[in-house]
Symmetry: C2
Subunit: 97 residues, 2 copies
């Protein structure tokens, strides 16, 4: 009988990435960035109509999981999606009601 090792690191990585993607604000951030490629924190929190600190917090958790990359240009920090596969993960689940 086939058995599975639940302790593999890649399994935990995949799980934590999906879990982090599973939040409405974070999905919306991914979708904004899919459209526009790069956005600053200010652009993002205004587009989502949320507090700056909340945007920053979610951007940071996405960055910690290597879902987003960031680049500082002067006063601004621009975020972008690190890998198009992550957009696919979101899209796979986007058609449900």
């Amino acid at each position: 009988m086939k058995t599975i090792n639940l302790n593999s690191e890649s399994l935990h990585t995949a799980a934590s990435m999906l879990k982090v993607l599973g939040h409405p604000i974070r999905i919306s951030i991914i979708e904004l960035l899919d459209d526009t490629n790069k956005m600053s924190v200010t652009e993002i929190f205004k587009a989502l109509k949320i507090e700056q600190a909340i945007a920053s917090h979610h951007l940071n958790t996405l960055k910690n999981k290597r879902i987003l990359m960031s680049e500082r240009v002067g006063k601004n920090t621009y975020y972008s999606v690190s890998d198009p596969n992550l957009i696919s993960a979101v899209n796979s689940v986007r058609s449900y009601k």
Copy 2:
């Protein structure tokens, strides 16, 4: 400027599906079922070497989100993945270390 509505129902549905997929046991269940198509609770908890109650609990949360379907045959309940898109969502994220 483009703004996003965070309250849309489909956004919350997508988020909760990804969130539910984001757990090592639940990913492993999906992958087992991807291979074998249908498995009973007993087959699943033995393959994963976890408690029966834990398997049942995770199977139920996957079923509540309509990620799995179940069918009772005599004493056994067989679970299967309801939609191949959900396998893609997992696979999109499965290559990271």
